[in-house]
Amino acid sequence: MIGVISYLVFFATTASILAIAVLGLNLQWGNTGLFNGGVVAFFGAGAYGTLILGGTPQAGHLGGFELIYPLALLGGMVLAGAMAWIVGLLTLRLRHDYLAIATFGVAVAFENLMRNAEWLAGGAKGVRGFERPLRDALGDGFTYNLVFFAGVLCVLICVYFFLERLVASPFGRLLRAIREDEEAAQSLGKSPARVRLTAFVTGSVILGLAGGLYGTFYAFVSPQDVLPTLTFQIWAMLIVGGAGNNRGAILGAFLIWGAWTASGWALSRFAPVEAQLYTGSVQFVLIGAVIVGMLLWRPQGLFPERLVVSQTGITPQKEQGA
């Protein structure tokens, strides 16, 4: 029984970290309509930044600043934000699929930089030697995982409420206005370029926060953690959950990650030994089928966006009638 609880805590920690990342993407895509195809670059910047700033000295590459943990995590977020700012300045004039391709290229470049620049982050060997915070006080076992999960959950809840407030605010309306019709927003005296950049950087900082927590949880990050698969996974979570809805984003993260791990578990548990060798391939087919089915029959996601009419007094019917 304790084993099941221990695993569930572990699972929920990973899922919550991914949910934070999905929330970050939701701000960019769901609310602002920015097609970020390079999710993993900002996630990775957060992870690498946190581990390099907070880790112990390692021979052969940058790092070992041994900052206290909150500062290291903040550093990772700042790094992700700074990268997003530069990338955003260069690419946000692009629209839709062009932006997707440009950001995807940034992510691939990021992975290759990390893989090849050994002096920077250890190359393919990755960054290790990170002491998880409070490890001395809590040990390494179940208690630690439980406390860490509680911490991650708090962060997830904070990010959720922050984003709920943000999208309900006038700024949130502005984001949706730009998403729906940029020229109309411009005609009202708004500056779409600046707002898009703000949303892109904010979303990327949240992605960086998720990356920092991810690196902390594993006390390790390598170029294998920043492959395009992760971008795909996070997008799948948002699409299934419902773009534009923060609750949907969180639900999507738990569902997709749950399906991803549960299908692997079920196949290894119930399939005969000979078939077990093919579980990996079967799993890809199953997950792919879920996403295709979702797009075919419920493209708005499980929790569709709730559009709110913020001006009370004039009902939609009246508007139509006029």
Partner: protein, 420 residues
Amino acid sequence: MPNLKLMLAGLGTALVLSTLGSAAAAQDCTTKIGAVLPTSVDWGRPIAETAQFAVDQVNAAGGAAGCEIEMVLRDTQVDPKVGVDAAKALVDLEGVNVLLGAVSSGVSMPILTSVTVPGGVLQMSCCSSSTAFTGLAEEGKTEGLWFRTFATTGVQSAVGAKVAQDKGFGSVAILYKNDDWGQDMARLIAADFAAVGVDVTASVAINDAQPSYRAEVTEALSTQPEALYLALYPAEGTAAVREWISLGGTQNMILANSLKSDEFRDNVGMQYLGNALGTDTASPRSESADAFVAAYQERFDAEPNGPGLANSYDAAMIALLAMEAAGEGASGAGVAAAISRVTDPAGTPVSADTAGFEAAKEVLAGGGTVMYQGATGNVRFDANGDVSAPAVVWSFTDSGTEEVEYISLEDVDAFIASLN
């Protein structure tokens, strides 16, 4: 989504029911061990099959520590998140205290730091080669729970340099796989070449799955080396060597053990590989290695060629021997501590098959120690869980590979010492 899970559960139940009848219970109890391997990757599946093969042989000998062994296999998809989650599920839900895997260092490392060391579980990898593990072990952070049967990085680069020296090559260009293994390999071999006075003209990284390697190959070719060193996997190796030869590059090639594959030989063509010499850690001069090859051929109808197969077999076998030595109900740390009892150079030699496992059982029951003579040699771990091994120089033949030269463990150690 609930439908999917229901479907899976239903499918699973049906499968279980259909297999229950055929599973004959040799023992009253079953001990589970975990395996996290990249079964969804082409070269990963044979590694898992070979591990299962070792488990089957042990079960034929009546299991380990009084129980039948069941290997629960999970796919890593070469994704660290997925691998770590699978490992955690195996430890928490299946209750394993011995974990085989993973292959990629980038997956093995987070499993080690966040699952097996905190959980006190023995982790035995067939194939993770990163030097980062040695560093971690030296800092005492693996708590003696980490072992790997992949000896080849240091040994192989030294033997590669020896081949270049023996053949009298004055200059060599290096093409290496751009991952942790390839980068380590390129760095080590460059240093070893320099130590024996061979000039390294170029060292070029080869990224996976590119449509063409013309740029990389041209860069290496323009330095006009007398020979080419390849630390690549079969798919990229084939593509790079084809371009190399079609552009008129030398056929003097030195190959890392990862290219010891029929696929590579067939796709490049035997007529171009006459001057290619490979290096590998060697089988011991004993019957056990032959027994492994024979048993493997009988089971899979092919020679055990392919990256990591012999290493995977030894990883599973040593873990199971250690479980036997540690006895029933031993913890992960207990099994880890028992590994020295089954890889003792002064112990009774046992072969790598069912008969060998039976022999080992008797010796261990009498309180003795055994020396496991495995598919990769007389495996012996150092304090960091790393292995050294004898080496072999091989070349391709029409039906597989043949041995050109055998270099004993003493000679390997002496040669490595002479390089420093």
